[in-house]
């Protein structure tokens, strides 16, 4: 089993600091909403579909409300008002009508106000009940099938990314038949920067396939079928990340996805999305994940594909502790938090396997209840596919030996292209072999209490602690401004999407959030 060589009191201290850092932001989050959050509320309330030029209706409505400066009251409130003002009318037109000159709109009496809210709450509850039913369907199917290759084996996670959802389905089915447990449909490059979620099925993407509700549906349907055929449950995952975290979380919940990549800081650091926006969005999206029992995968692996994996190891630990607090603040249990990290140390160095063991065991043991998400070597991958494969095999070994929960399998062609069918085949076959060959190795071996591995763990943790001290002192926003994470500095007012952040008015109304926050 994985071993932890860090003194418990230091771990307690680190958790306090992480909590302190995140708490500073939570107050801000509670005072604000975003266009994406409001669009999500409208989607829950049945505003689906897209306008003539493909723009989602939810976007058209929320933009109107924001431009009219009334979004601060909550989109649900104005949808209610609009429908009252023009019963039976098309919602978009209704919203357009009132947001043309909201001032002119006669105020409602307290009773009416209250009644309107009650009606909307009733609608929201009904919608949530339906959502719950779909989520239960997913859980029932999973409960009725085998999960993973064997007890204690990491779930084999592979990527499909042809850019065409129908090719994705072909490749996903093949992967499933070869032993994959999780299918991730990689998004089209920089979808994260779109402030809307595209509509309909995708047949042309760059470096991936757009995350759309229709694509989710098509893939989930195919995986349900394969799951039943194989008697093994196939998980589906995508990205609740970028400018539309809450909406994608909602769509994912609705289309019965099992996992989502969702990180409190990734968008800020790697997509230059404004931090106020991301902090608000991550909260709402995680409230949805908590409700839908969707496992999130955090993105700390990205730090060490950018910075040097050996030097930046501690930023992974610090960030995971922060991500954990943010997730817990959003009502998520540890069993739903898939902490991300990866096997990325430059293979040209010595004792890299020991250093990876140190890190993998520490992450595993710091979050004993969580399904750790282990990523493969990528940054130092080169075109020699045979070497690349050997390198991946070492990651498989560490994954099974240290009991990682979810392993994204390395691809021998990582340095060249998105995985081909045969690349996945090769990875899945070898991973199955390594899992089998080393099945009980973790239970057999103990690392020396003062050896290279133990010392390395303490070294990393000490650095993480020092970083957290600083972050807790400076506060998250300032720390990010100092490039403390992912080697990238971002400013509180900088980045994309700030215009989508709105301070809540006193009477702000969000019936969906009310339900999600019940018993907060």
């Amino acid at each position: 089993m994985a071993q932890l060589f860090v003194e418990p009191d230091r771990i307690v201290r680190a958790r306090e600091l992480a909590r302190a850092a995140a708490m500073g932001v939570q107050a801000f989050i509670d005072r604000h909403t975003t266009v994406s959050i409001e669009r999500t509320v409208l989607r829950l309330l049945g505003i689906a579909g897209a306008g003539s030029r493909g723009a989602p209706l939810a976007n058209l409505m929320v933009d109107r409300l924001r431009d009219a400066g009334v979004l601060k009251d909550g989109a649900a409130y104005w949808l209610g008002r609009a429908l009252r003002a023009a019963p039976g009318k098309d919602p978009l037109q209704a919203i357009e009508r009132i947001s043309a000159h909201p001032a002119k709109l006669p105020a409602l009496g307290a009773a009416e106000e209250e009644q309107l809210r009650e009606e909307m709450r009733a609608e929201a509850r009904a919608a949530v009940r339906e959502l719950r039913a779909r989520i239960d369907q997913r859980k029932q199917l999973k409960a009725s099938l085998r999960v993973g290759s064997f007890e204690g084996a990491p779930w084999k996670y592979v990527i499909v990314a042809t850019g065409n959802i129908y090719d994705d389905v072909e490749q996903a089915r093949a992967a499933a038949q070869q032993g994959a447990d999780v299918i991730a449909v990689i998004r089209s490059t920089a979808q994260s920067l779109l402030d809307y979620v595209p509509h309909g099925a995708t047949t042309e993407g760059f470096g991936g396939t757009y995350a759309t509700q229709e694509n989710f549906r098509i893939m989930r349907e195919a995986l349900d079928e394969e799951s039943r055929k194989l008697g093994r449950y196939l998980h589906l995952t995508n990205y609740s990340s970028g400018l539309c975290m809450p909406e994608i979380a909602f769509m994912a919940a609705h289309e019965r996805l099992d996992m989502l990549l969702n990180d409190a800081m990734y968008g800020i650091l790697f997509r230059d999305i404004n931090m106020q926006r991301t902090f608000c969005d991550q909260y709402f999206s995680r409230r949805i994940c908590a409700f839908a029992e969707i496992i999130i995968n955090t993105g700390e692996d990205n730090y060490i594909t950018t910075a040097d994996a050996d030097e930046a190891a501690h930023t992974v630990i610090a960030s995971q502790l922060i991500n954990q607090t943010f997730a817990q603040n959003a009502g998520m249990g540890d069993e739903l938090i898939g902490f991300g990290h990866s096997f990325e140390i430059d293979p040209a160095r010595e004792d890299t396997l020991l250093r990876e063991f140190a890190m993998a065991m520490m992450v595993r043991e710091l979050f004993p209840k969580s399904p750790i998400k282990y990523m493969p070597p990528t940054k130092h991958k080169e075109g020699d596919i045979f070497f690349s494969h050997a390198y991946d095999v070492m990651a498989d070994l560490v994954a099974i030996t240290t009991g990682q929960g979810i392993q994204l399998l390395g691809m021998m062609t990582e340095a060249m292209h998105n995985p081909f069918l045969m690349d996945r085949y090769v990875a899945l076959k070898s991973a199955a072999y390594v899992y089998r060959a080393a099945r009980h190795l973790g239970g057999e071996i103990r690392f020396a209490p003062d050896g290279i591995v133990a010392r390395r763990q303490r070294e990393i943790f000490d650095q993480a602690l020092a970083l957290l001290e600083e972050v807790a002192k400076d506060g998250m926003m300032k720390a990010i401004g100092k490039a403390r994470f992912g080697d990238t500095a971002r400013m509180a007012e900088g980045g994309k999407g700030l215009e989508g952040v709105v301070e809540k008015a006193p009477g702000y109304f969000n019936p969906f959030l009310e339900i999600l926050e019940e018993g907060r």
Binding site: D167, G383, I385, H417, N418, L421
Partner: protein, 277 residues
């Protein structure tokens, strides 16, 4: 007959259907350089590939470079036009087969086998003939209705034939594992030759097996059938049984069965059965 079949065109598949993706690797006897890399790309292009990407150029010795290359072929294959001599018989289980032999032949089948020439890879022929068998499938020795004589390795073709003649064998089982410069074919031919010389060619069934053996090659070499990697003794037992029936003019019409299922493929016996397809 393939004329009647409608076409089923296929191409290699990488990322998208019919993209024609193929991976190559090879060594060129030159040191690494931009020129060497271009040479590697040229090799791929001369093979008719487009979208050529030399993904790796590695110094594999002073004057050698190792390359990994990806490219796309535009060739198309009509899958329906591809024919392999393959006939499917329903495969009998262990007891069932012994019973069938007793019933249809009324006597034990005698088989003599060896790994011939200078080849000393016995595990293959042992897997087929010895008690233990292969992958949980009993060997011929274990079949009450077979008498299996395994001469082991490094047996001269002529001595194998002589022994088979002495034993009055129904079938001769030949194994060859070493294939360098086609030594396995040489030895196989030598065996058929001496069978003719010793006058038992007509009345004996000849089986050729080994990791690089396939049915087609075996037929070309004058054998009745060829058996490659993964062959099970029961495949062989069934084959010999059917072949003998057939020689008695009592071959049942072969029935199609799924490949790789317990009712596994039993290789064809060339012309004669070929027609019954």
């Amino acid at each position: 007959m393939s004329a009647e079949k409608e076409k089923h065109l296929i191409r290699p598949y990488g990322d998208r259907m019919d993209d024609g993706v193929i991976q190559l690797s090879f060594v060129l006897p030159v040191a690494c350089s931009e020129q060497a890399k271009e040479a590697a790309a040229t090799v791929a292009k001369k093979l008719g590939l487009s979208h050529v990407l030399v993904s790796a150029m590695e110094q594999a010795g002073e004057n050698y470079s190792f390359f990994v290359v990806y490219g796309r072929t535009h060739m198309q294959l009509d899958y329906n036009a591809i024919e392999v001599p393959e006939v499917l018989h329903r495969k009998h289980g262990f007891d069932e087969l012994n019973e069938a032999v007793r019933r249809d032949l009324g006597r034990r089948i005698v088989v003599v086998g060896a790994c011939i020439g200078t080849d000393s890879h016995t595990t293959g022929i042992d897997a087929i003939m010895n008690m233990k068998g292969f992958a949980g499938d009993y060997g011929l020795e274990r079949y009450p209705m077979f008498r299996a004589v395994n001469l082991g390795s490094q047996v001269e073709p002529s001595s194998l034939v002589a022994r088979a003649k002495a034993e009055g064998a129904d079938a001769i089982l030949v194994s060859k594992v070493v294939t360098q410069r086609d030594v396995h074919k040489e030895d196989a031919r030598a065996l058929i030759e001496s069978a003719k010389e010793q006058g038992i060619f007509e009345k004996t069934i000849f089986l050729f097996g080994g990791p690089r053996v396939d049915h087609k090659t075996a037929l070309e070499l004058g054998f009745d059938a060829g058996f490659g990697p993964g062959t099970r003794p029961s495949d062989v037992a069934n084959y010999i049984y059917y072949r003998l029936l057939e020689r008695m003019g009592r071959a049942p019409p072969p029935q199609k069965t799924a490949h790789g299922t317990p009712d596994a493929t039993v290789p064809a016996t060339g012309e004669k059965l070929g027609e019954t397809l």
